[in-house]
């Protein structure tokens, strides 16, 4: 045979076979119509002889078989009607055995046998037994498989099952089971034997062909699964042990995989649960190449679904200690199958985890146990590089999160972070992101320092540089996303109990300080604010206690805000040292304000000092300086904690720096802003009208200077915006009742602006600003009242 045209040849042979069947079937039909038994038997045997071919692949052979099968149905109808052929069924059963060729003989025998059982002239058991025994004569794998498949097909509705019409004194369900089991065993042997036949080079093709035939074998298990009379006891005592014996002993990879899967799918969950030990006992005995993990996973999936189906079945799981058994079995399988790839191992654990999460959601120790087993397997090995294995680990880690919707639960699992350690850096981070997402989505509050500790251990991939990678290699946007997530996370870590909260803050600080220059700008602010929130809370507590007892009960407040501020000071210091001085400055000011609110003048002063130091030493950019100085002024203005001396020092500094800004307009604006430092519009705020005026005048001088400078450099006068702005300040303080601001001064200023504007007609914006300011003055005048009277004397 030439290999090249093998397929064409096969088509030809199939066509010939079909033609042969049709030819003989034609004569068979004639004989049937004529009620001629002799001729019928003769032509049917000839027709069936077409099935003796060895030339067809299983696929093609199946086509041929189906043709013959259809014809055999007609023959069976004929056999049923004794009146037509006049021969008793008993005699007919002998008569068909006269055929010289075994294959046609056995097909005919099975056909008559089926009629024989139906006639009930002999116990079904005896006929079935005879048929299944006689079929041994066909040892050719494909022909034997199809023959026995035919037997299974014609007998399946005639088994002496419980409640079946074929059940009798002699015929019991035991016989039905024996019959099916025997047919199954023989079919499996034939099927396995296919593997060893023919030359080695076509083995792959043959295995594919074999795979196509597997359902013929599996059909027997389906039949067993449908026998009503197979109760748990019988399943346990007979069916399962015998099927497993066959599966184990056949030592064939394909068969073992398929049949184990078949067993799991075909029989009821309840049976699996009650025979778990037996079933699982078979796994380590399978061939090392069998894909056990898939099969075991399916078993666990089924059992999980079963557990999920009804609450009533759960006690069964406990009673049979399903988890322990599965866990042991997996352990043994992994131990036995040394060559199992790591992805398989983890996949098994994932299944087990899914199982325990569904069946024993309350047993966190089980979950931890599974993770622990996984760690044990993974530890001592280099980090996972296999993509698929990594995915499985992620699945392993994600499952508990999804189940409990609560990271807190996961944090109690001691092995959880150890599993995470096994991931490569990228995946580790991704997993950490998943964890953070879970926390954010569920709005979970992490409320103890221990848990925070564990959590940071889990997400350490985001918190600091891990070995081998530096931040430079990372995508900037990803990095930002990650760090923003961490920042958000920090806000989820709190506890109403100050003592615990303090611990949390310390823990967080400890971790984020190791983050390096790139991360600190992201992570420090949330920590600061979180701590400030605590300080705010602590303050309230102090006040409350004071209200109750009139005195602070020291022990009740575990940490004074002082300590917190010290901590914050260090933290911000770290930030300023990593070239984020502007951010540090803002945070210092924030802290200063908070410290002020806590009545901690020295601390607030210290923070301010730090801010000024930063301003002096680190902030060189003129724009940044402008922003910084305004921030300083704004903060300082709001604070009333300082004593006169300290306040003077600080305001003096602020004013001094304002006047030293590079650009004149900036100077001007900073200086008039400083005026507010001397006039706090509070009940007991400072109200030093003189110094306000000094500032404003100084601002005017600077504005003048600026105007002149423009005139010199550009040959024309500059905009009057600065003047209008100062005018507005005048009006503000005027309204607030600063006695130093007189109507004359305001009037003078208005005049000055008007004059300036005449010499410069280009500035529309300042024009509009000025005219609306003037309109405001007019408005106030016309409105009357106390304020209106004040305004009345302003000349415009």
């Amino acid at each position: 045979m030439l290999v090249g045209n093998g397929i064409e040849d096969e088509e030809k042979w199939l066509a010939e076979g079909i033609a042969g069947i049709q030819h003989h079937a034609f004569y068979m039909h004639r004989a049937l119509d004529a009620n001629n038994l002799r001729e019928t038997l003769k032509y049917s045997a000839q027709m069936l002889s077409e099935l003796r071919t060895s030339k067809l692949s299983p696929h093609k052979y199946y086509e041929l078989y189906m043709r013959a099968f259809d014809e055999l149905r007609k023959l069976e109808m004929f056999f049923k009607e004794e009146s037509k052929h006049g021969v008793s069924i008993v005699d007919l059963y002998e008569l068909v055995q006269h055929a010289g060729n075994i294959l046609p003989r056995l097909y005919l025998l099975c056909t008559v046998g089926s009629v024989y059982i139906k006639s009930k002239e002999a116990p079904a058991r005896d006929v079935l037994k005879d048929l299944v025994e006689m079929c041994r004569g066909v040892q050719h794998p494909i022909r034997g498989l199809f023959l026995r498949s035919y037997l299974a097909q014609v007998s399946r509705d005639k088994l002496p099952d419980l409640g079946s019409e074929y059940e009798g004194d002699a015929d019991t369900v035991v016989d039905a089971v024996d019959f099916v089991l025997q047919n199954f065993t023989e079919m499996n042997k034939l099927w396995v034997r296919m593997h060893y036949q023919g030359p080695g080079q076509i083995r792959e093709k043959r295995e594919k062909e074999r795979s196509e035939l597997r359902d013929l074998v599996g059909k027997n298990l389906h039949v067993l699964g449908q026998i009503e009379g197979v109760d748990l006891e019988m399943y346990k005592g007979t069916v399962l042990p015998r099927v497993l014996e066959q599966v184990v002993n056949c030592k064939d990879e394909l068969a073992q995989y398929y049949l184990m899967d078949c067993i799991i799918q075909v029989f009821p969950d309840e049976y699996h649960l009650q025979t778990l030990e037996t079933l699982l006992g078979a796994f380590p005995q399978l061939q090392p190449t069998v894909d056990i993990k898939t099969v075991l996973s399916r078993l666990m999936d089924r059992l999980s679904n079963y557990a999920a189906s009804s609450i009533e079945v759960l006690p069964e799981f406990l009673q049979v200690e399903a988890f322990a058994k599965l866990s042991n079995a997996i352990g043994r399988v992994i131990e036995t199958q040394v060559d199992m790839p790591i992805v398989g191992v983890i996949a098994l654990y994932v299944s087990l985890l899914t199982f325990t999460l569904r069946v024993h959601p309350e047993r966190l120790d089980y979950v931890d146990q599974v993770l622990g087993a996984c760690v044990k397997k993974l530890s001592g090995k280099p980090k996972l590089e296999d993509n698929r294995a990594t995915k499985q680990v992620v699945a392993l880690l994600t499952a508990p999160l999804e189940k409990y919707n609560d990271i807190v639960t996961a944090l109690t699992l001691s092995n959880y972070p150890r599993v995470m350690d096994c991931l490569d850096n990228g995946t580790n981070k991704a997993m950490a992101m998943v964890i953070i997402q879970s926390i954010m989505n569920n709005n979970t509050c992490i409320s103890t320092a221990d848990k925070v500790e564990v959590l940071f251990e889990l997400i350490k991939g985001l918190i600091k540089d891990l070995d081998g990678t530096s931040v430079d290699e990372l995508d900037e946007e990803d990095f930002k996303d990650e760090q923003n997530s961490v920042a958000r996370l920090i806000h989820m870590l709190y506890n109403d109990d100050p003592e615990e909260m303090l611990k949390i803050i310390y823990t967080v600080k400890k971790h984020i300080m190791s983050g390096g220059p790139q991360r600190l700008p992201f992570t420090v602010p949330p920590l600061i604010f979180s701590a400030l929130r605590y300080v705010g809370y602590g303050l309230q507590l102090v006040r409350r206690l004071q209200c109750q007892d009139g005195d602070v009960v020291g022990e009740e407040v575990p940490a004074t805000p002082k300590q917190i501020f010290q901590l914050l000071n260090q933290t911000i210091d770290a930030l300023s040292s990593v070239s984020s001085p502007e951010l540090a400055l803002r945070l210092y000011l924030q802290c200063a304000e908070a410290a002020g609110a806590c009545d901690l003048e020295p601390i607030a002063y210290e923070f301010f000092t730090q801010a000024f130091v930063l301003y002096e030493e680190e902030i060189a950019d003129s724009k940044a300086q402008v922003t910084a100085i305004h921030l300083i002024i704004g903060t300082l203005q709001r604070m009333n904690v300082f004593g006169v001396e300290n306040r003077d020092t600080l305001t003096h500094k602020a004013t001094g720096y304002s006047a030293k800004l590079l650009k004149k307009p900036d100077q001007c604006r900073a200086v008039y802003a400083c005026s507010h430092l001397f006039w706090v519009d509070d009940q007991d705020g400072i109200k030093d009208g003189e110094r306000v005026l000094l500032c404003l005048k100084r601002a005017l001088r600077i504005a003048n200077a600026a105007q002149q400078m423009i005139a010199v450099t550009r040959g024309r006068s500059g905009p009057v915006t600065l003047f209008v702005e100062i005018l507005n300040k005048y009006l503000y303080f005027f309204e607030k009742g600063n006695p130093q601001i007189t109507t004359d001064a305001i009037g003078g200023l208005v005049e000055l602006i008007t004059t300036e504007m005449q010499s410069d007609s280009t500035t529309v914006a300042s024009d509009a600003f000025f005219s609306s300011t003037v309109r405001y003055i007019q408005f106030q005048k016309e409105k009357g009242g106390a304020l209106g009277e004040k305004y009345a004397s302003i000349k415009v």
Binding site: H98, G100, N101, M134, G144, K189
Partner: protein, 284 residues
């Protein structure tokens, strides 16, 4: 032709009839000319009773020197003294409890026949002779000892089988049951058959002729088994034209039967083992 035939036509019609001819069982018998006729069946020690009818052709006188009937080779009965026959006359005859130990047999090289022969002896002209075949079959009771045939055979390191047939003696409508057990299979077997062979030997000494015929080829197995397989045997004998085993019949011939188990490998090499079985006729 007719008139020539007519000219040599015997002067009378002779016919032999049996007293229980209507009820007696008839069996087919193949004549030498190939035609099959139905003949009555007897067994040993039966009475063979009947009549011989002689009817002279109309208007002719038949002169004879005596009429006799013989069961060929054995017994002669004088039916008439010498005389003349003018009209038809019947002569009853009876051979009582005839010993007929051998069965009729129609083989390749040998036939065993039972014939009634009526001879009308005449002077000067040839005797008038008429033959009537009948068949004898003798029945055997169930053998008291009937062991199974069990044997292990093989080719070293190649094929070892053990076969078992449930009996060594089978009656003609019997069924051979058994099994073939494969102990070692190192060849690729294509199929296995069971043959029934008949061995007829005639003559004796250097003049012995042996004819072997294969009467049945019955496929037992399709495809190659592996070690440990056991293949059932169930062969119904009724469809085949067997006779009982005949051993040294009258020192003239023997007919023996053999079961021949044949294994054919994929290169069409045949491996076989032959076992004699005894076939007998069971009283029904």
């Amino acid at each position: 032709m007719n008139f020539i035939v007519g000219a040599f036509k015997p002067p009378c019609i002779v016919s032999i009839s049996f007293a229980d001819g209507r009820t007696r069982k008839q069996v087919p018998l193949k004549k030498e000319n190939g035609h099959t006729v139905m003949v009555p069946l007897f067994q040993s020690q039966e009475n063979i009773v009947g009549e011989v009818l002689i009817e002279p052709i109309h208007g002719k006188k038949l002169e004879h020197t005596g009429v006799k009937i013989e069961l060929l080779g054995q017994i002669v009965r004088e039916l008439d003294v010498p005389g003349e026959l003018y009209e038809k006359k019947t002569y009853p005859f009876e051979f009582s409890t005839v010993e007929m130990p051998y069965e009729s047999y129609n083989g390749v090289n040998v036939r065993l026949r039972y014939i009634l022969k009526v001879t009308i002896s005449r002077n000067y002209v040839s005797n008038i002779v008429e033959h009537q075949d009948f068949v004898v079959q003798n029945y055997t009771p169930l053998p008291s000892i009937n062991n199974s045939i069990k044997m292990e055979v093989g080719i070293e390191d190649c094929l070892h089988i053990e076969f078992e047939y449930n009996k060594s003696k089978y009656h003609l409508k019997d069924v051979i049951l058994g099994k073939i057990y494969f102990l070692l299979v190192r060849i690729k077997i294509k199929n296995m058959e069971l043959e029934i062979r008949r061995r007829e030997s005639t003559g004796s000494g250097p003049n012995t002729y042996v004819e072997t015929e294969t009467l049945a080829k019955f496929e037992l197995m399709d495809g190659g088994p592996v070690r440990g397989e056991s293949i059932p045997v169930r062969l119904f004998l009724s469809p085949y034209e067997l006779t009982p085993t005949y051993r040294n019949i009258n020192n003239k011939f023997s007919v023996k039967y053999y079961l021949n188990l044949v294994l054919v490998d994929e290169e069409d090499r045949r491996y076989f083992k032959q076992q004699e079985i005894t076939v007998y006729r069971l009283e029904t």
